[in-house]
Symmetry: C2
Subunit: 476 residues, 2 copies
Amino acid sequence: MSSIMKCIGHSSAEEQLRRRADAIRLQLTQGVSKPFKKIIDLSSGDIHSVGMKPFTFVRQVLAGCLWPNLLASDTLPDDARRRAKKLLENCDGGSIGAYAESSGLAYVQRTVAKFISARDGWPSNPAHIFIASGSIRAITAVLKLLAQGGGVSQTGVLIPVPFPYTLPRVLESVGSVPLSYSLREEAGWRIEMEELQRALLSSKGHCLPRAIYISNPGNPTGHVQSRESIQEVIQFVAQENLFLLVDEVYQDTVFEVGCEFVSYKKVLAEMGPPYSHTVQLASVHSLSNGIMGECGLRAGYMELVNVDESVMLFAEALLCGDISTPITGQIALNVMADPPKPGDPSHCLYKQEVEYRQNTLKRNMYRTAEFFNTLPGFHCARVQSGIFIYPRLTFSPEALTHAQGLGLEAGLWYCGRLLEEEGVCVGVSECVDEAVSHCQPGSSWHLRLCVLMPPDALEEVLYCVQAFHCRFLKEF
Amino acid sequence: MSSIMKCIGHSSAEEQLRRRADAIRLQLTQGVSKPFKKIIDLSSGDIHSVGMKPFTFVRQVLAGCLWPNLLASDTLPDDARRRAKKLLENCDGGSIGAYAESSGLAYVQRTVAKFISARDGWPSNPAHIFIASGSIRAITAVLKLLAQGGGVSQTGVLIPVPFPYTLPRVLESVGSVPLSYSLREEAGWRIEMEELQRALLSSKGHCLPRAIYISNPGNPTGHVQSRESIQEVIQFVAQENLFLLVDEVYQDTVFEVGCEFVSYKKVLAEMGPPYSHTVQLASVHSLSNGIMGECGLRAGYMELVNVDESVMLFAEALLCGDISTPITGQIALNVMADPPKPGDPSHCLYKQEVEYRQNTLKRNMYRTAEFFNTLPGFHCARVQSGIFIYPRLTFSPEALTHAQGLGLEAGLWYCGRLLEEEGVCVGVSECVDEAVSHCQPGSSWHLRLCVLMPPDALEEVLYCVQAFHCRFLKEF
């Protein structure tokens, strides 16, 4: 428990950094002089903010839906016009200004179900697809469904350490108890079954484990689970009667040769009965993460498998409650799940844009890993997927003493200075679990940096980081 | 208390109706034969779904922001292009695919503050404007801020009866105690001070009143508060030390001659000290309601007045939590607050579109009131504003007995049949408060119908309602 509490502490330390970044941004607009012209935020994985361009087809379809006059001319390619018309036909009153059903536009649910069926080779039911304003909202809804009891019967949720930086706040908001299982850098960040067992046992006497949260491909570790590892986890959850909540938002960002994304849904189906008919699974995906990176449009989806129909009704109520997912986001989700096909006028450009993005990601990831491995104090393991790199940073005893003297947590101090001096905002977390890791607490940290950006922008960032780190090393 | 609980019951009865409408919609897509081709939902005020067209300028600006290639040609008018460029400059990375700050794009906050300043003639501070994914989310955030204590110190909130149909769920979700003040049809639905006093006293021994919720222009009553009435309410909240939460989403729908929307903010400022410096006020407005009716884009704003800075930090955290407001909605909000000006290329068309909408609303409202006043069993008072009409329906003793025999609440039975037989979905609530109203509980109901739609579509709906009602009268 102490490790997860410490991580929540870190999570709010990151919030401090981000708030500081906001304050600096405001100062810049007010003309306050700084050693840089703008803040570059690499902590949140917002790739458009660091210069990645949107995919043309999705924006053309959106423009056509929003201003249907465009559909009468040849300003937009034929397939974009057809898609926009089809989507508008499926909106109430033919306008995206109308509310959608609370679980999403039925048409978009069907597109997503087709996408999943084609991806996995196993059927997906549109009635089991729930559209939400982003993956975090979907995850929150599932965890709310599972949150119950008080005292020793309060819901416990197994979560990895390290975890996506947004996760602790979600658990906090639903009032569930986090039970952490550690991922070790030395083990390549893979899930180790002994750790799951240990996490489960740690619940004794203070909560009742009802679910496990898995991030695959792993955020922020970049690890891609093998089919065998997924099978082991499924056997474990079946045996322990846990709900399996899988965050698969980075499924289209696997770049390492020999690695492949396999969905939990697929493995579960392949395993056959009893697993395939009993294990309750929620899998989430979103627009914001991964290749498309349309954070501002706010949409994601969740597929529920083996979940009781009556529970799904609650899921719908919870997901929607006060907000139906913005239709613009649902339209983008439709394109993500059903991109232009070979022969369509927009296919060639779409393919080029996706490939350029995938190549940029791979190139930048290798380049950045190499960069950190040449900087004293940093070590960067090979990454397999995702858009974040997660290098380890070790401070000298002098630096640690100095931070202590300032009353500051060393990682936060380092990143705060990087922000103030270079305008670069990165995520940071301390190595917290000495029991399962070789690193000593209080001596080693990980930074988290999104690397999916135009290569020249990345070089500028790396130049800033290098300049700062060299000054820092000289001082300490 | 019983009246509000009964209303919450009604609110969920409406949810039953809407769920039934969803089920019928699904059947229609599956080819099940019905006496109608589509469901017309008049209960939720979604004007695009019933055929109102969007305003051209807002959609042009959105199309330009989404697909900036449009900005290089003359497909869009010059002012739409300029606006889109300006908005993109104010998005991170120049893309609306990036996240916005949690309280909204600073540029949109400034536009909204300017709009309020011009409307009221009193300054508005952009830092006190919070952009949210719709007015309900803003209202929920404020009520969450105020929710505290348990037992007799639990937060009580004064709310009107009748109320906007979405309100009970919000109160339920934040765990506050509703204290109802009745609005009487006989009094023209105006706020009566004795009723506020009675509601306050009703809290004794079971909760602590901390806030009052006002809907002005009134939803669903269509009443517009006079300046004097607003002053009285402000004096009351000052004396009782209540937080004043004002839902002003129908501010641009006042059509009755001699009525004028005056904001609480303006009256508060005009009253001067001590009121103007002490009364804590939150006012909400949104894209979905009123004239623009862009429900699918999900955006609204809240202005906080006289609220402590430290509390506002919490407001920001609460409003945003898991979701930043979709940027497409924020762009539409920018246009709503800053429409084309005289001399701009799009001014003339925008003005025409707004006027057409206002005229349609006024015409439809008078037409529908007249229509109901000719139907036996219905009575419809004159409405001053809003997009809903709220006619009173009285059943014959035979009809009441029949409903009782079926074990059904009579209003729900009537509206359920209207839905099943004609495909028309309307809102319904029972007259519940015999203490302050002449109507007897269990004998009289109100329907709620959105009338802002193309006049020919309205005539079709009225034809269906008339046909159904005549059959119903013949039976009972």
